[in-house]
């Protein structure tokens, strides 16, 4: 069991955990957190593959590193958009439920937007 293999196994379990949290947790914010956990596990898998590709005096293959840096920024912007949607839903309906049956309650957004 070498270090990168341990990280790789941790990353694989993180992907499974993120998938489970995404499916089973009803609160949208928890789904977002699980989704980010899933994404971070995938990035770690890239990192482990890159670490095994260390050569020519570089400790980690630069191409997966560049892909992961791009991925982290894109995942952040997707999370920011999702949170804006969630906050707007909360503002309009007063609850964060994703199901169709919950009626909007009295604290819904009166601005007509």
């Amino acid at each position: 069991m070498s270090g990168p293999t341990a990280f790789g196994l941790c990353a694989a379990v993180a992907v499974g955990l993120g998938l489970y949290g995404l499916i089973t947790n009803p609160h949208p914010l928890r789904k977002l957190i699980a989704f980010n956990l899933l994404g971070s596990g995938v990035f770690l898998l890239f990192g482990v593959v890159g670490r095994r590709g260390a050569a020519a005096g570089v400790g980690n293959d630069p191409v997966p590193q560049a892909l992961v840096i791009t991925g982290i920024v894109v995942a952040f912007s997707a999370t920011a958009l999702a949170i804006s949607l969630l906050l707007r839903l909360f503002q309009k309906t007063g609850s964060t439920t994703l199901s169709n049956v919950a009626p909007p309650n009295a604290s819904s957004d009166p601005s007509g937007g």
């Binding site: 270090g3 990168p4 341990a6 990280f7 196994l9 941790c10 694989a12 992907v15 499974g16 955990l17 993120g18 998938l19 489970y20 949290g21 499916i23 089973t24 947790n25 009803p26 609160h27 914010l29 699980a34 980010n36 956990l37 971070s40 990035f43 770690l44 898998l45 990192g47 593959v49 095994r52 590709g53 020519a56 980690n60 293959d61 630069p62 191409v63 590193q65 840096i69 791009t70 982290i72 920024v73 894109v74 952040f76 912007s77 999370t79 920011a80 958009l81 949170i83 804006s84 949607l85 906050l87 707007r88 909360f90 503002q91 609850s95 439920t97 957004d109 601005s111 007509g112 937007g113």
Partner: protein, 313 residues
């Protein structure tokens, strides 16, 4: 089995335990805090994987800015826990657990049975470093060899901010994002917001400039600049700009715009889209990165501020 390997195995176990806690804990706020701690420890894992550029990005954007985003949302949604009626039934839980276990097992198998010797592009990247005369191979890949990906990523950031802005209610269209923050002018938050940004700006420019030859780059520097701006906004020292302002929109478009211009210039005067002439490669790349860092800082800060809530008047 030396000390370093033991440390790495323990680190992996701690990160895993933190991940399990984040998914399993009852309150949303605790899960958010757990996720921020998870992000920071994953940055440690990246350092142990010899990917310091990624570690900086994960700590700054994943742990830092992502943490601020999630904590802010968790605080605003504190009274909106879902009802018991929405919790999934046993069938959903068991099948989700089976699917997750299967996925994790497949990935773990892939990790254990990775091909040996490992295929790698590192020698190719290092061999072509003379094309840009930058010493950091990751910066070379990001800005020269796969510059198309980076340019498209800037466009993705722009699309995200347009998506966030489109969620403004009608009366706040074109207005200021987020609430107007007030803080005690003699208090500690204002003290921090006065003391830290100068230091933060210097550190951000240093990390950006040294990214040419050492770990660092425009993304990490831009994230630090964005966090200094957000700190000043949170302390009430400055207000969020109204999104209709021309200078703001110019800054947001400057990064991808300059990238596109250089790319078209490569097509016009040179051999291909985004082909840099060898003599001008380094100045062009650094020029694009200056525009990039401003755009990244503005975009990340505005993504954190959210959709407009207050009208311009």
């Amino acid at each position: 089995m030396n000390i370093a390997t033991i440390f790495e195995v323990v680190l992996a176990a701690v990160v895993l335990g933190l991940g399990i806690w984040t998914i399993a804990v009852r309150e949303t706020y605790s899960a958010t805090v757990g996720f921020v701690a998870y992000g920071l420890l994953v940055a440690l894992i990246w350092v142990r994987l010899d990917a310091v550029d990624v570690a900086l990005t994960e700590a700054a954007i994943g742990g830092g800015l992502g943490g601020v985003l999630l904590l802010g949302a968790a605080a605003r949604l504190r009274d909106a826990e879902p009802t018991v009626a929405e919790a999934p039934g046993m069938v959903t839980r068991v099948s989700a657990a089976a699917l997750s276990a299967l996925t994790a097992a497949a990935l773990a198998g892939a990790i254990v049975f990775l091909p040996d010797p490992a295929p790698t592009l590192a020698p190719t990247v290092v061999a072509h470093a003379s094309a840009t005369s930058l010493a950091n191979p990751v910066t070379n890949v990001l800005m020269a060899f796969r510059a198309m990906d980076t340019m498209l990523e800037k466009v993705v950031l722009l699309l995200a901010i347009i998506g966030v802005w489109s969620l403004a209610p009608d009366n706040a269209w074109g207005g200021h994002p987020g609430p107007r923050h007030q803080a005690d002018p003699d208090g500690i938050l204002v003290f921090l917001a006065r003391l830290l940004p100068p230091v933060g700006i210097v550190v951000a420019i240093y990390i950006f400039w040294t990214g040419a030859n050492h770990p660092g780059g425009a993304f990490q520097g831009g994230a630090i600049l964005a966090s200094m701006w957000v700190l000043a906004i949170m302390a009430g020292l400055t207000d969020t700009p109204s999104i209709g302002r021309r200078w703001l929109r110019f800054v947001l478009v400057a990064g991808p715009g300059l990238f596109l211009l250089v790319g078209l210039g490569g097509l016009w005067f040179g051999t291909a889209f985004l082909a840099y002439p060898p003599a001008l490669a380094k100045p062009l790349i650094l020029g694009i990165e200056v525009a990039m860092i401003l755009t990244i800082a503005a975009t990340l800060g505005l993504l954190l501020a959210g959709a407009p809530e207050r009208s311009v008047k």
